[in-house]
């Protein structure tokens, strides 16, 4: 669908070689930190921003040079962008009126959309008389009434409070599944991305880092950035050195000495003697009962969440967070031993950040 599109603002490359094919009826989320080019990418797909290179196809159609109105897309904006001088009904009907549909048909479609979103009772109100959640529903209504080929959503939930956001998140996902319309959704919130997406596009500095379904992204991150961006708390990184010893490869630093799993050997052989980064998710690190286990750590902070306890520790020079059982209650300053589930750990190239294993 997007073929090597690129956007430059002067000399600054905002989006570089954005090359993704999105399947019909798929829910794709573009996620990344602010300024990573995700909104710009979406706006190029919408036609609100002209790409400086590459082509965009919707369906079979090349739309690169078409204005937004000829792309058969609908967009939901972060600020809702409801027309303040029109009531809810007219807001939703606006696009249909522009297409000169007969008024009975407009009426039927608007009421249908309102029904789906549960906004029938305030069709006659003006946007300013609605709450944030209601406005968001109207904005959604304005999109679905069009029955477009593609939904584009630009951080639609970021103006809502946390509780409403979780609720709307589920509603949008359900709505998308029900209508079966291809959706591209931009957010900076990785939880939103993980919960809603069929596939996630992770972007950083205008470059796609990885495109994968949520579980793959979590289990097999392509690089250190993806590993740190997806998951809360984020993956822990421990700088260490790879050393071949008699019983296999060891990952060593001043606080840790971990034996790499045997199946890694082939891939890591080339890095023998080099500095690497070990990545272990918080849930794959646990406090050990042994007097000497894989790593020694000092407890920095204990966060009790009820269902689990997050323990911030220092492993040598690196900070890490471990997810422990709720009954585990160390005190700050304790020296503890940690055990890593190396089957689920990752090894990253220290220089490039790319994954080795």
């Amino acid at each position: 669908m997007c073929e090597h599109i690129e956007k430059k603002f002067g000399d600054v490359i905002a989006v570089n070689d954005f090359n993704v094919e999105i399947n019909d009826k798929e829910f794709v989320v573009i996620v990344g930190p602010s300024g990573c080019g995700k909104s710009t990418s979406l706006r190029m797909i919408a036609g609100l921003e002209r790409q400086t290179g590459g082509n965009i196809y919707i369906g079979e159609q090349l739309v690169s040079d078409k204005p937004p109105r000829d792309r058969n897309i609908a967009m939901v904006f972060q600020n809702y962008a409801l027309y303040p001088h029109m009531n809810v009904y007219d807001n939703i009907a606006f696009a249909l009126k522009l297409r000169n549909l007969p008024s009975e048909e407009i009426d039927r479609k608007v009421k249908e959309a309102a029904e789906i979103l549960g906004i029938t009772s305030y069709l006659q109100r003006k946007p300013r008389e609605l709450s944030g959640g209601q406005r968001q529903r109207v904005a959604l209504g304005r999109s679905i009434v069009r029955e477009p080929e593609v939904f584009l959503m630009d951080e639609p939930l970021s103006n809502l409070d946390a509780k409403l956001r979780v609720q709307m998140r589920a509603e949008i996902a359900k709505l998308q599944a029900r209508l079966g319309i291809t959706t591209i959704y931009v957010t900076h919130d990785q939880v939103e991305a993980m919960t809603m997406a069929d596939r996630i596009i992770v972007m950083k500095d205008g470059v796609i880092q990885q495109v994968a379904d949520p579980q793959t992204l979590y289990d097999y991150p392509a690089n250190q950035f993806v590993a740190s961006f997806i998951g809360t708390p984020p993956m822990n990184f421990i700088a260490c050195k790879l050393q071949k010893q008699q019983d296999g490869f060891h990952l060593i630093n001043e606080a840790a000495d971990v034996i790499a799993p045997a199946q890694w050997s082939e891939k890591i052989a080339a890095f023998d003697g080099q500095a690497v980064t070990l990545g272990v998710r918080p849930e794959n690190m646990c406090p050990s009962g042994l007097a000497k286990d894989q790593a020694a750590a000092i407890v920095d902070l204990v966060e009790v969440l009820g269902s689990e306890t997050l323990v911030n520790v220092k492993i040598g020079a690196d900070s890490a967070i471990i997810k422990a059982a709720p009954d585990y209650k160390p005190t700050v300053g304790d020296a503890i031993q940690l055990h890593f589930d190396m089957e689920k750990a990752h090894l990253f190239n220290k220089e490039t950040g790319n994954v080795i294993v």
């Binding site: 919408a46 036609g47 609100l48 204005p67 937004p68 109105r69 897309i73 609908a74 967009m75 904006f77 972060q78 600020n79 809702y80 962008a81 409801l82 027309y83 303040p84 001088h85 606006f94 696009a95 522009l98 297409r99 003006k126 946007p127 300013r128 008389e129 609605l130 944030g132 406005r135 304005r142 069009r146 584009l152 103006n159």
Partner: protein, 272 residues
């Protein structure tokens, strides 16, 4: 606490009166003089209690045909304001959306130069075209001020409108022009009213351009006041009555439209 608030109210009141005196006193003097006879006006000490006379107004409308001057002024003021809107609104929108600040400054240059410097070239130009004393000429000349005024007020106004609204309209199926007419203009009421009121008032009160470019056919109110000034004397009563005739529509206009300049009309469009 209560004393303090009373004191502050009194101080506030005094302050308001102090500010109002320089503005209101001349107006009140004009108003009272328009109902006095010539002798009462020039009397020293001033006459405060008198029997009002409508003779001055009679002279203004019967002797001098102020009705026609009123119509002339209206045609020119409304015409120049409307034309300025037709040209100025799309111009302002373009400057705002495409960040053509250079163009904006270029338009402002017209306003920065003293108006009087245009008069001689204009006079030569329009007389060669045999267009002196036509409405077209006067409307065009008054647009010199109205147009930059409207452009500059509206650029700021458009800058303040959320861009997403037009983008949403474009996605919904509008052309850029369609978005301008269907979304931007309906939301620009307060800005348009403010700019139009100022443009209208400028034209209404303009003396210099009309003095040079108009004659009998298109004589406007401010010029007509001069009809009461002769070599021998100044007929103060009719002058004051004529002044009131000029001021009254301006004041009414300002008061009526001030109510429409409601801020926050865009509330609810984006975050509320």
């Amino acid at each position: 606490m209560k004393n303090e608030s009373l004191l502050s109210k009194i101080l506030w009141g005094i302050l308001v009166i102090l500010v109002l005196i320089p503005f209101l006193f001349p107006f009140l003097w004009i108003l009272s003089a328009s109902f006095k006879t010539q002798a009462q006006i020039v009397a020293m000490p001033p006459v405060w209690i008198f029997t009002p006379t409508l003779e001055n107004y009679a002279r203004v409308f019967v002797e001098q045909d102020f009705g026609r001057f009123l119509l002339n002024s209206s045609i020119i003021a409304v015409g120049s304001t409307l034309l300025s809107l037709v040209i100025g609104l799309p111009a302002a929108y373009t400057i705002s959306r495409y960040k053509q600040n250079g163009l904006g400054i270029f338009i402002l240059i017209a306003r920065l130069m003293p108006g009087i410097s245009y008069l001689i070239p204009w006079y030569i130009l329009f007389s060669k075209l045999r267009m002196i004393d036509t409405f077209a000429t006067l409307i065009a000349s008054h647009m010199l001020v109205g147009l930059p005024l409207i452009v500059w007020i509206m650029v700021n106004y458009f800058d303040g409108l959320p861009h997403e609204l037009e983008e949403a309209a474009q996605v919904d199926g509008c052309t850029l022009q369609g978005a301008f007419f269907r979304i931007v203009l309906p939301l620009s009421g307060p800005g348009i009213i403010t700019a139009s009121t100022l443009s209208f008032l400028f034209s209404w009160n303009n003396f210099m351009f009309s003095l040079v470019l108009s004659a009998e056919e298109t004589k406007t109110l401010p010029i007509a006041v001069y009809n009461f000034v002769s070599y021998a004397d100044v007929s103060w009563g009719p002058v004051m009555a004529a002044t009131i005739v000029i001021i009254a529509p301006a004041i009414i206009l300002t008061m009526v439209f001030q109510r429409y300049v409601i801020k926050g009309l865009t509330m609810g469009a984006v975050k509320g």
